[in-house]
């Protein structure tokens, strides 16, 4: 099993990464500032203007270290992927399933149930743990509506129907999202999801964390031999990693959204960690982004018990395990894809 190791984030503009023996050397202004052995790394994620030597790329591919290049603001640009003769039969099975409406619907159902189930748990937990009165009522009402959507999703007979149910439920969930917040006042108010660009602080946080999650899910798909571009719930669109988006759904509420809310609720991000540019877009400042990366890395190192496999593992590894479970489902080992249902 791929054990979940560290991710090395490079955020310094103009940094250069080179292979130094079996380690990666981080050079800034021609001075080596850091050396990390490759066998201690799971991934290297570079933000913005970061240079890499071809020798390092080859060594990463060989050592199974995923190497991703993101824009300075965290948008995925490219990944360096090694030659993977991999499992051609798995990929063929994935394409066949994606071409078959019944199989697509069954896979999409699992992704939707995973997402809605976890949304409901997030709402219920907040209602139970730290809410009283009107706030608790609002949260439980919203959770009940998720429950109703789950019942509908179980009975849905087409992928389009599932997409509709998922869309309505997402609107509903985000309508209550601000209620999950316990501090931050007006500075962190959430008035609906805005992506391109994020128009408030909480959307800026959500977008950034979704990008990080996306990088991890995509790497996990590729490392088990799945084609991250061919989705089920998400239709194919050139340049869009459909399967990675599918698998990401179940992680959004409990891993990404909870993470963002915790940062705000605990005061780990402050209003002046952000800047608003002329267009109204809200961006995170450099320092805040670095702190967030450290917190995200720590979160992924936390342990949990895998709900389906019943084994202890880190949260970062859960992402890989889910990709593996989806591959095993496609290969016919299990009768459905079991999403990670948070308790």
């Amino acid at each position: 099993m791929k054990t979940h190791l560290n991710t090395l984030f490079i955020t310094t503009q103009g940094a250069y990464l080179a292979k130094d023996g079996q380690a990666v050397a981080v050079r800034i202004e021609k001075k080596t500032r850091l050396r990390v052995p490759l066998h201690n790394l799971d991934a290297i994620t570079c933000f913005g203007r970061v240079g890499l030597s071809p020798q390092l790329m080859a060594a990463c591919a060989e050592a199974g270290v995923s190497l991703s290049l993101l824009s300075e603001s965290g948008r995925f640009r490219a990944a360096v992927v090694g030659y993977s003769p991999g499992n051609v039969l798995l990929r063929r099975q994935q394409y066949r399933a994606a071409d078959d409406e019944k199989a697509t619907c069954e896979a999409a159902r699992s992704f939707v149930l995973g997402k809605l189930g976890n949304c409901r748990t997030v709402l219920n937990r907040a209602a139970r743990d730290d809410a009283t009165g009107e706030r608790a009522d609002r949260l439980s009402r919203s959770a009940k509506r998720m429950g109703a959507s789950i019942v509908e999703a179980k009975a849905a007979d087409s992928t389009d129907r599932l997409r509709g149910i998922e869309g309505e439920a997402a609107l509903q969930y985000f309508a209550t999202f601000d209620t999950l917040r316990t501090s931050g006042g007006g500075d962190f108010a959430f008035r609906g999801r805005s992506r391109r660009p994020p128009l408030d602080r909480i959307n800026a946080l959500l977008s950034f964390v979704y990008t990080l999650l996306m990088s991890d899910v995509r790497s996990a798909c590729e490392s088990v031999g799945l084609d991250a571009a061919v989705g089920f719930l998400h239709r194919d669109r050139p340049g869009r990693p459909g399967l990675a988006l599918d698998l990401m759904e179940e992680f959004r509420p409990w891993l990404a959204d909870r993470f963002v809310l915790t940062l705000i609720n605990r005061g780990q991000v402050r209003p002046n960690d952000f800047q608003t540019v002329e267009s109204g877009a809200v961006l995170m400042k450099e320092k805040a982004r670095k702190d967030l990366l450290v917190a995200w890395q720590n979160r992924k190192q936390e342990e949990t018990t895998h709900t389906f496999l019943g084994e202890r593992c880190t949260i970062g590894l859960v992402i890989h395990l889910q990709a593996r479970l989806f591959a095993r489902y496609l290969r016919g080992d299990i009768d459905a894809y079991p999403p990670y249902l948070w308790k």
Partner: protein
């Protein structure tokens, strides 16, 4: 009918097949691989066996890491060590054994005693897998050299001991049927279901195979159960 060179199967897959059909399919169909202590130790041992120059010792030529194939069996691979002993009574000076072996015609070579030796890290196994792997190497050597090989040897690292393996009719027919089963498994491309057994403990693919979770466990029932539990907690 001989198999085309493009279709030869790895000899090592025979051993995987005899150990566990699912392991064999995971490695050779799904191209899944993982290391553990045992596989790493095995690699060190094999590297030791392969390393070093071929040599002549006690009137015997010792060749290492020899590439082999048999078109009849339809397999190819690498033998750790192959010993070549000239016919008894023939006088061979030390240095000339290698060149004499190289120059030997098939007819001359037929008189030589050829012995494949395979290195294993542990101790002799209950199943036939090591013997079948060795026998497949012998069948390759027979075909390539036109010789008849009556015996090979397995060297077990933990016991530091060589065990002779006679290539009798039984072993030869198990090897042929293993190759047929292997060809069928890889051709179908279906990974057999997981069965949890004691031997799983030693398998490096255990965390990728997930025999406990994959066996007779319904993911569908898991989803229903989890969602119902959450609904009950609500009301």
């Amino acid at each position: 009918m001989p198999h085309p060179e493009s279709d030869l199967l790895p000899i090592s897959a025979l051993q995987h097949l005899l150990f566990c059909e699912r392991q064999c399919a995971l490695i050779h169909v799904e191209r899944v691989w993982a290391e553990n202590r045992f596989t790493a130790e095995g690699q060190v041992l094999h590297r030791k066996a392969h390393d070093g120059k071929p040599e002549t010792r006690d009137g015997e030529r010792i060749a290492r890491g020899l590439p082999l194939r048999s078109l009849v069996l339809g397999v190819s691979g690498v033998a750790d060590i192959v010993l070549y002993r000239p016919p008894t009574g023939a006088r061979v000076s030390r240095g000339s054994l290698a060149s004499r072996l190289r120059r030997a015609s098939q007819d001359e070579l037929a008189e030589w005693v050829v012995t494949p030796v395979e290195y294993k890290r542990g101790k002799p196994k209950k199943n036939d897998s090591d013997r079948v792997q060795l026998c497949a190497q012998a069948i390759c050597l027979e075909e390539m050299h036109g010789v008849t090989i009556s015996e090979g040897a397995l060297y077990y690292g933990r016991l530091r001991k060589r065990y002779p393996v006679p290539f009798d009719t039984d072993l030869r027919s198990s090897t042929l049927s293993a190759a047929d089963r292997l060809r069928d498994l890889l051709y179908r491309g279906v990974t057999p279901p997981a069965v949890r057994e004691k031997k799983c403990e030693t398998c490096s693919l255990l965390p990728l195979c997930l025999p406990e979770s994959m066996r007779r466990r319904s993911a569908r029932a898991f989803i229903d159960r989890q969602l119902e539990r959450a609904a009950e907690a609500e009301s």
